[in-house]
Chain length 434, copies 2
């Protein structure tokens, strides 16, 4: 049997702060980056994963991934749910490393990168994209992947099994539908804070012409600007297109409520990250005050325990999981099951580096095998940096096409890795010498 | 004016897993460790701080501290609240590094280590121990140190100012009382899971003889063992000594309630860390079910936002802040103010490496200048590894003596640093060659 014989970790950074793409109220100048991991094997394909960061500290993230090497190198190449469950448990269960979280932050994102790389590897060997590979597993296999610790007051193993069994009929039809029609996307491209009003209007108009049913604006910098931009967006797209807004954690509870009350006349579909991602009770208070405006969060929610509480408290109407924030596919499966239990739609966070590539697998798997529904669900789309991936996300007519190449789609081109490795790649050394 | 001219970060590890000291239900074999930081100056004293970990991953923690160097090197040496507030804001406010948390895990503990090193430096220059240095600041200066973001629904700046002003009368008397009588300690030394019943009984008896009014047992490994150990402890110490228990996050909500119901006949004073430190709602459910047994947590609570919610939800009756888990003195001041607002006693977590040394400053400062009370408050005491510190914590008659040496007491002896540096110190190279 083939073995994992090495782990390679690269610090890859894109100088996105040179433009204002990606600018928002909390992140004025991100350099979109990836701590990129390759699991080398002694036969067959390698496995690829990544943790997304926004620049400084990507080296710390890379160090955290390297700390997991002793758990990975020497393993048989994982090919099934049993092996993928065992790997996740070994990584999460390292009692010394656990102190660094537990299950949060740099150390937890590192686990996510490695677990996702292992899924990539297993799916490549199976010759399937991850979403189809996972959708081929039985409910029992899927449940065996999940760590139910700290979840049982909201979701038991039996309840999870019931959810998955209820979605078994129709799996094949839904897979066929995904392969035919893709999965709904929404566009964040018009709404970065750094853009002029004219650029906002032009991009919003273009998004509608391109088939998107929802766009999203960044807010939280200046109230007067936000009211004007929201008005422009609404007037540009008309009443039938959804306009969501995203404050990127900028507010306290009372300011979130006051600010959004000013934007309410323009019918915002959701307010995303109104406050700290750690503040379950704060989100609940905001949701109660602002209904029927939905509250959404998730890209910075650290693990399944916080998602559990957001759902228990009725704090969110939209759950925005992230492919690279939590402990990889396994924990995202737990989160999809929680969302299904509470009947809250999942609209994943994407953008950044590789997040669009990864997260489409999760939404498509969810539709095929977990929630069985795509109602009120869509995946964020930012048309940015996809050219660096060997199996890039493609959106046409406002829909993500189904990935068909084997794996989890995190692999970058060799030329990209050479050029953007920090601090020694030519993209960075040439800048420094200018 | 003197400047900070360099930052040195060391990976220091003690091979505590060779004994069973420190063993509990989640942490069977910790190697108590510190990512140790020195702020070198070009005149006057240097500043010392640390983040505590339990072995593997201490290198990742050290890397996270190093990532903060550009914010620190070149600064004027901080001497007052204005400079200490500005440094904390600069570290927390780095928008790229913030992505690694935000404000949690490895990246946040790194901020804590550096902020505490800056306090050490400022207090050394003032010629005072940190608790007295801080207790000499005005309410306005203290409030200027606090980041109120995400707190205003529970604690406003004005309310914080009112709390601090209310504690101004009597500061001098309370400082004198601390210097005369010290501060109440409780002992965890009898209760590690790895100890035999005979050792438990002997150490419990010794603790009472030594003047402690409370001891603590680790629980959560095996129910039958825990019932037997709790019975031994209660019979040994009698009805008047408090016996707290600590599950180190081992349980889900329902198992916490069921397990503690079995221990209830032996009158446990508090149950510490019954479940995930992230689970505010879980702690609230446990507290409601187990009253009048108190619920305590904090050593793994990631930041002020989670403490805020634990207090808002009535989830804890005892708040166990940790000197090295959150963003340093500044965030711990926010947490002390929240506890005072909600009238919940603070009983800090200690033990590990240097935590007893650091945290006594926080409790003594709290009594002097924030809550103004020491009722139902005590500091954990584990008599372990203190010999490595230049200003070690000393407990006699069940009370922490007031530290009087200038600084925050995190400095280790040079010989310790030479011997225990990982992986190149002789403590580790000699083991490897055995």
């Amino acid at each position: 049997m083939a073995k994992i014989v090495g782990m390679e970790v690269l610090d890859v950074r894109f100088p996105t702060s040179r433009e204002l793409d990606g600018s928002d109220a909390m992140n004025p100048d991100p350099d979109y980056s990836a701590a990129y991991v390759v699991l080398h094997t002694d036969g067959g394909p390698d496995g690829y994963g990544l943790a997304f960061t926004i620049g400084r500290g990507n080296d710390v993230q890379a160090a955290a991934i390297r700390a997991l090497e002793p758990h990975v190198v020497g393993l048989d190449v994982p090919t099934d749910a049993a092996a993928l469950g065992a790997l996740s448990r070994a990584l999460v269960g390292d009692s010394q490393l656990r102190w660094l979280g537990p299950e949060k932050g740099v150390a937890h994102m590192a686990i996510g990168a490695v677990v996702n790389a292992a899924w990539d590897l297993a799916a490549r060997i199976a010759g399937l994209p991850v979403w189809r590979f996972a959708a081929g597993m039985s409910p029992e296999e899927l449940v065996s992947l999940v760590d139910f610790r700290y979840l049982s007051d909201a979701l038991t193993e039996q309840e999870a099994l019931d959810i998955l069994r209820a979605a078994e009929p129709g799996r094949a039809e839904r897979i066929a539908k995904i392969e035919r029609d893709g999965y709904r996307a929404y566009s964040t491209s018009p709404g970065w804070l750094g853009y002029s009003d004219a650029k906002l209007a032009r991009l919003a108009e273009q998004a509608v012409a391109d088939g998107f049913e929802m766009i999203k604006l960044k807010v939280g910098g200046d109230l007067e600007d936000d009211v004007r931009r929201m008005k422009i967006a609404r007037e540009t797209v008309g009443a039938d297109i959804r306009v969501a807004v995203d404050a990127n954690q900028r507010w306290d509870v009372s300011s979130a409520i006051a600010w959004m009350t000013e934007l309410a006349p323009y019918d915002p579909y959701w307010i995303e990250e109104p406050t700290s991602p750690d503040d379950v009770l704060g989100h609940a208070a905001i949701a109660k005050a602002l209904a029927p405006i939905r509250v959404a969060t998730g890209e910075h929610v650290q693990n399944r325990v916080v998602f559990k509480q957001l759902l228990q408290a009725g704090a969110i109407s939209v759950l925005q999981l992230d492919a690279a924030r939590v402990g990889g596919f396994n924990e995202n499966l737990a989160i999809l099951l929680l969302a299904a239990k509470f009947d809250v739609p999942v609209c994943p966070h994407a953008g950044g580096v590789g997040l669009c590539e990864l997260v489409r697998h999760l939404s498509m798997f969810d539709f095929a095998a977990v929630s069985g529904s795509d109602a009120d669900r869509s995946i964020e789309w930012v048309d940015h940096l996809h050219e660096h991936f060997t199996d890039p996300a493609v959106v046409t007519g406002g829909r993500y096409l189904a990935p068909s190449a084997p794996g989890f789609s995190a692999r970058m081109h060799d030329a990209t890795l050479r050029r953007f490795t920090f601090p020694d790649g030519p993209e960075w050394t040439e800048i420094d010498s200018e």
